[in-house]
Symmetry: C2
Subunit: 892 residues, 2 copies
């Protein structure tokens, strides 16, 4: 037998802010404010345990509940000095849900409860405002009828509409007290008609009806879906808050308002909010009247002509401003508050942590540290790492007018406008002429890289968050919207169709890669500005984290960007992107099309000096930092020539006939290229390819070491290892080449050799693989693909269904599936350490930039995460938060 009801108000409470699990968020904060001595209308909270009990016992309440509610109600009556059911001075209450986690709009609320034919008259007399009283009554009947009695909302709307039609007016406010009396009568008649019973006149009966309805609403369909999507257990239950009503609409000495204790968009330490005189909370939201600013400064900033509260109600404003200070000091965070002024008296109805922009979050966190409210650890913990994306890329001007054309996936953040082009070549050609273009493709492939570089942004109609377009765009820092399936691209006609609208090549579109929206025409954007607060907070974060942050960078540009963002090395330098550069693709194709080792060697000899120069440049930029170079990974056919002109070009270079080349291209085609002849399998079949790459790496090491006098430490990474033998064969070759280069150059050539762990088998066999591998880098993209048997490129067609049905809570290509893929990683880490306790462990999949995944990587003790350049700051922050969480766990 527990305590089921907790009272609050009148300067004291039975609960506190810490009791959110028991009282829900709203109830706990009302109790806390009451404890602080703030003016909170008295009330009580029926705990979440009642909800749990209710569902565990065939929808029956604990037997003690009735008595506890009645006692709590009596306490309210005493504090307010009004009485429930009293015809002359009636107590009215609100009944609201309030779960542990915020579930906005998911559950039901009843206001003005306690009104009936008698008390409404008393309220009219007491307020001197019969219209107010009857308006409250009709609202109550409609709300209660809908929520508790199951009379559909529109039924009441229809009656109200008829009343207005009958009087020839269009606004509710044009109905007077007499009109509303008639509406009330009609409402009651309707309730009788639909339910077969009169509208309950007994306020106690009303109260129990409303309490029951709130508990019932915990299991309504909307709430169930919401919980499933937000991973909220049904067992948490909701609390019910019953609170004395206060009214901001009883006259000109009344008001209602909402405020933030600091500016939620800039973070400035100024009181920010709006209020309406003689109004109810819903009027502020409805936007029927123009709200007034709280402060004179706010009035000036908004060019408002209406008086600020600071002027109009200076006394109450001072009270409110004091409350603001008390709340910030107490909660040590910016608060989002609701208040009502009833006849010159201030009442606080809600306080909670306020939502804010990323910029504001940074400023508030940094300011609060200097104000001594929080420490650095707490400041770092307050920032949502993902929100930093807003700060690193151009964003759409929030004031600009926009027309949405379509929606896709927010594949790479930032906003961009440009002329639509449908091929990489066209993108490059127009960009060379100084035009800004938006590369628009059904999907992209490695041969579109030059066009993606040239474009301002990328738009695809197929592919998910980890499609080629998305991954490459994020790496380059180009905004990208992927999988905008409503768009139908017609390459032949050079146009795209969206539900009847045609967009032609050269027409301008704008994309917002942060939301996935596509807009008609050009939408102005705002350039990012990395403020001092950003730098300060990142410095604090760096001091707190254990994980190193590296970057995935294939080009000098990427490498430079990443260093600017604070990368501590390259965790993944893909060598295949280099193969697509226009100066070498012909030689690469010649190599692929060769059917003999000699043919391949001849072509590779042409590629070697170029590849060596690629590495040299990157080693120069990353000097002093580790660089992990992955040997060739994708299936060879990705490099194949497609057009007749390309085939001719390769034929000329290689001396083979075009027909032979076409035949070879057919031979190289694969049913499931992701599971085909790629990764280290290429190195096993054609050792000369990896040999050339190893030589290019080591020659670059030797050259850069000589020129700079510093040691360069490459980590040679072999992809797609499934067995130790593959690694052993290739490592022997790499060691041999390193020895040769050291001898030829007369320089020491230090290096590590390691593997990707991206196949389930490799994770399981990690112990023996680690006998040869000096490091593991988790390739979680492929590990996710193989663990789930799920192709990134093809999952788009059903991923949404899977998320809608709650099968995937998040896209497993975005955030590591901890239960499955995560277990494979843990197994690999544990087994790898068994044979090599100091093995270096990292992650280079797309997940390396995802905060939840970074938290997991920290937990299983990886040494570093590697992510695309633009996610480096996010990863630095997420790593710091992971370390904070981990140390808090250890302390607990």
């Amino acid at each position: 037998m527990g305590k089921w009801v907790y009272g609050f108000g009148g300067g004291a409470s039975e609960g506190t802010a810490k009791m959110k699990n028991l009282l829900g968020g709203k109830g706990a904060n009302l109790a806390e404010m009451s404890n602080l001595g703030l003016p909170v209308p008295p009330g009580f909270t029926i705990t979440t345990e009642v909800c749990t009990h209710y569902y565990a016992n065939g929808e029956n309440y604990p037997k003690e509940l009735k008595a506890e509610v009645e006692a709590a109600l009596a306490a309210i009556e005493k504090t307010v000095g009004a009485k429930f059911c009293d015809a002359t001075n009636p107590l009215l209450v609100s009944v609201r849900s309030g779960a542990r986690a915020s579930m906005p709009g998911m559950m039901d609320t009843v206001l003005n409860l306690g009104l009936n034919d008698e008390t409404v008259a008393g309220l009219a007399k007491l307020s001197g405002n019969p219209r107010f009283a009857y308006d409250s009554y009709r609202r109550f009947i409609a709300m209660y009828g809908d929520v508790v009695l199951g009379v559909e909302h529109h039924t009441f709307e229809d009656i109200l509409g008829e009343a207005k039609d009958g009087k020839g007016v269009s606004l509710d406010t044009e109905l007077d007290a007499e009109d509303l009396k008639k509406v009330v009568k009609a409402f009651r008649a309707k309730v009788q008609e639909v339910t077969g019973k009169p509208f309950p006149q007994d306020p106690k009966e009303q109260l129990w009806g409303a309490i029951g309805a709130v508990f019932q609403s915990w299991m309504n369909q909307r709430a169930i879906v919401y919980r499933r999507l937000h991973d909220i257990p049904a067992s948490w239950g909701t609390a019910v808050n019953v609170q004395a009503m206060v009214f901001g609409n009883m006259g000109d000495d009344c008001a209602t308002g909402v405020a933030f204790t600091r500016d939620p968009s800039t973070g400035d330490r100024r009181f920010y909010g709006e209020f309406l005189v003689n109004a109810q909370g819903e009027d502020v939201v409805a936007g029927i009247r123009t709200p007034q600013q709280l402060t004179i400064a706010g009035k000036q900033a908004n060019l408002s002509t209406l008086p600020a509260m600071e002027e109009a109600m200076p006394e109450v404003f001072r009270q409110l401003d004091t409350v603001r200070g008390q709340l910030e000091k107490h909660y040590r965070d910016m608060q989002d508050i609701e208040f009502t002024v009833q006849r010159g008296k201030l009442f606080m109805l809600q306080t909670r942590s306020g939502k804010r922009t990323a910029k504001a979050a940074l400023k508030i966190a940094v300011d609060m540290v200097s104000e001594g409210l929080i420490d650095r650890k707490e400041a770092v913990g307050r920032i949502n790492p993902g929100s930093l994306d807003q700060l690193l890329h151009p964003t759409l001007d929030p004031k600009a007018k926009k027309t949405v054309l379509a929606r896709g996936l927010p594949a790479s953040p930032g906003a961009a406008s440009g002329k639509v082009v449908f091929s990489a070549d066209e993108a490059e050609a127009r960009a060379a002429k100084g035009e800004r273009v938006l590369l628009t493709r059904i999907e992209t492939s490695p041969e579109d890289i030059h066009g993606m570089h040239a474009a301002e942004g990328i738009l695809t109609t197929r592919g998910g968050m980890t499609s080629h377009a998305a991954v490459v765009a994020r790496g380059m820092g180009r905004p990208c919207v992927s999988g905008a399936g409503e768009l139908r691209v017609d390459y032949a006609k050079k146009q795209l169709l969206v539900r009847g609208t045609t967009v032609k090549e050269g027409d301008i579109l704008t994309i917002d890669g942060g939301t996935g929206e596509v807009f008609v025409g050009e939408v102005p954007t705002i350039q990012p500005e990395l403020s001092g607060d950003f730098a300060t907070l990142m410095e604090w974060a760096d001091g707190l984290r254990r994980l190193k942050i590296r970057t995935n960078a294939d080009t000098p540009t990427d490498a430079r960007t990443a260093r600017q963002f604070g990368a501590e090395g390259i965790g993944l330098c893909r060598t295949e992107h280099m193969f697509f550069e226009s100066d070498r693709i012909v030689a690469v194709r010649e190599m692929i099309m060769a059917t003999t080792t000699e043919g391949r060697r001849a072509a590779l000899a042409k590629i070697l000096p170029m590849q060596r120069e690629d590495f040299s440049e990157i080693f120069r930029i990353m000097r002093g930092l580790p660089v992990t170079v992955r040997l060739l990974d994708p299936p060879l056919h990705e490099f194949l020539p497609h057009t007749e002109a390309e085939i001719e070009e390769v034929a000329k270079a290689s001396g083979a006939s075009a027909e032979t080349l076409r035949q070879r291209a057919i031979e190289l085609k694969e049913t499931n290229p992701m599971l085909g002849h790629r990764g280290c399998r290429l190195g096993i079949s054609y050792p000369e390819i990896y040999e050339m790459q190893a030589r290019a790496i080591f020659e670059a090491v030797a050259a850069v070491s000589k020129e700079s006098g510093e040691t360069v430490l490459p980590e040679v990474m072999i992809p797609l290892i499934a067995t130790k033998k593959e690694l052993d064969i290739l490592k022997t070759m790499i060691d041999r080449v390193a020895g040769q280069v050291a001898k030829e150059s007369g320089t020491k050539v230090p290096y590590l050799t390691g593997t990707m762990i991206e196949l389930p088998r490799a994770a399981l066999r990690a112990q023996e693989i680690a006998e040869s591998a000096e490091f593991f880098s988790f390739g979680t993209n492929d590990l996710t693909q193989t663990a789930f048997g799920l192709s990134r490129d093809d999952s788009g067609s059903f991923l949404k269904t899977y998320q809608d049905k709650g099968i995937f809570e998040t896209d497993p290509f975005v955030s590591i599936d901890i239960e499955g893929v995560g277990e494979l990683m843990e197994i690999a880490a544990e087994r790898g350490r068994k044979s090599r306790p100091d093995i270096k462990l990292g992650i280079c999949g797309e997940h390396g930039g995802d905060p939840a995944s970074i938290r997991f990587c920290d937990k299983i003790g990886l040494d570093y995460v590697s992510c695309s350049p633009y996610r480096v700051p996010i990863a630095r922050l997420a790593a710091a938060q992971a370390a904070i969480a981990e140390s808090a766990k250890q302390a607990a």
Copy 2:
């Protein structure tokens, strides 16, 4: 300090047959025969431990070795009555390797050791045959020169060739003693020239040289590769056998021969072998003279005109026949023996278990049980399960002449001849006219099924042992050669090219699916005959095994075949094959092309009655046995129409335009279909498909139960489950449909619902999946694909390289990769049982018919394996052997 040398011969030995690990196979059996009192030339074995010591100690022998060898040599001298290095009565010895496992031809042998310029004269005198003596000497110099001194073999061949040219003859035997003396002289000069030293004349020096060479040969490249391929640890080492030479070529009272104690091709209990009078062992092998039969019966059977040994040497024959009986009784197995008769005296040189055909193996095993030599368990253990394949399919007549055209993979056993056709339609059309055809494709797809049915055999130029063609062919029992990459198919010209040869449609080819060979023209075949021995042995096997054997069968024909072969249920009934039947493919396509639920439902309604009839028929055949039905698995695009005519047909049936259909086909195309929108993902996206299938199953259950009065128990299997939620959503639907059908039909509809475990994630999450799944069936094909990240269809291009380089010891699609895929299975079985201790566990991947994999399935406690109909007998036998091995392990 151990004992390093074990003597044998003279009627007693220091070793026994059980000491194979120490003495090697040859040494142990020589010792054993000696112990049995059989006439074995005396000798000694230097143990494998000496080899291990040699390599562990910088190639040095144990210090006691020299003394032990000399003592053993003295013992030989005493037994033989001849002396090493004695010019008048010289002892000659052979020096042979002999490892624990047979490694034929991998290591070196030296014969006639002990000859030098003096002893050769003594041998000439003693034998009265100078030619024999000098022939032996020149052979010795060449063999020793090659093996011990590193003078290349061809050097000696060249000198011998010159000698023959000089004399104008062409055969070695045409050289007389004088000629050979000159050859010997030239040989010795050559050795001096190449090595800078004279050929060693001291027999002791010769002996140590030969012993060293044998130990060295353990680490030669051939031996290393052989060990790697056969998984023989280098640490085992080889033994060295030194044995007194005996000569079958000293005159007409001498002979040499090889024999099997029973007929190795039929298993008949008759002495079977050949011998040559006045000859050496190598002459029998060389085939210069026609060998004579051992027995008169053999002489008659072979229509030989030469006298049998039984006639020519009746006394020695009787001795040999007695030895035969002794050996069989002692070894309780058919033996393969070598013997030499020197001047009327029999010597046994080798005995070992004899290789035999599958048919012979069965007969010998069954006969030996009735003879009381072995028990049933041992009989069952003696048969190689894989060899049964020879008995179940037509085979090529071994006597037929054959011209190999190309080689591919032995994808489905059996031999077949037919006219080459290049399309399934052509195959069907010609078969309908009574022609026998061989369907030849680059690769096959589900829409070729009708052509595969119509064909005698299937030949593809791409794809591995588990490509579509291979899997389907095995299921149908059609011979198949897959991945014959040398063949180049030209569909347009209706021909195939092989290195210049053109094969046109209608030309006849023959394939041997057991070897992967493709032959020109028609090669006669022999039909299988399942003898009484087969039935007897299978019955014994059934009594011993724990695992149930089910079959993978999609059609009534398959189901009937499998029952005849002893299947105890269907472990995998794929429903997609049914979709390709010509009477429903249009409706199936209509369903796929539909873009709305209604459109799909309309098409599905047409398919329902046909699918119900499919199931009814199979349930009737399998009455009383469980049938696992897998809901639709492959990606929808596999069913798409391809030709314009097909598209038109679907357009007509569905009312959609051809253009819309083409567009839809493009939408359905996937980059990696194996990892795409398939399996339960279809059931989640389009619940109406699985709903129709569930209804068809349950309606069939109801109908067949009613008509037969027996209960039918289907197991509804959901493919490609990665998460419990997928299963829960689909199980709820299945339960609902079952309830509806039960109500509608007024019949009980019992069933189980379970999943494939074919994704690594499913294996890891088995505990929670088993909360809902009543059975697991391991889909090891896909589990192998995902664990390795390896596509069955695409692995052909590098699988051979992987096997050659020792990365894969066996094709992981043929035999379960126990270390990786196997661990996933163990994890899943263990975790599944945690939440459902009695969960039914089976395997339905191709591995279900592989003996090594069956052994593993038995070990981890699966309830059944399921394999293609023609592998059911193999699986029954393998399961029995697994049970025997397991119980032996438990006993130990």
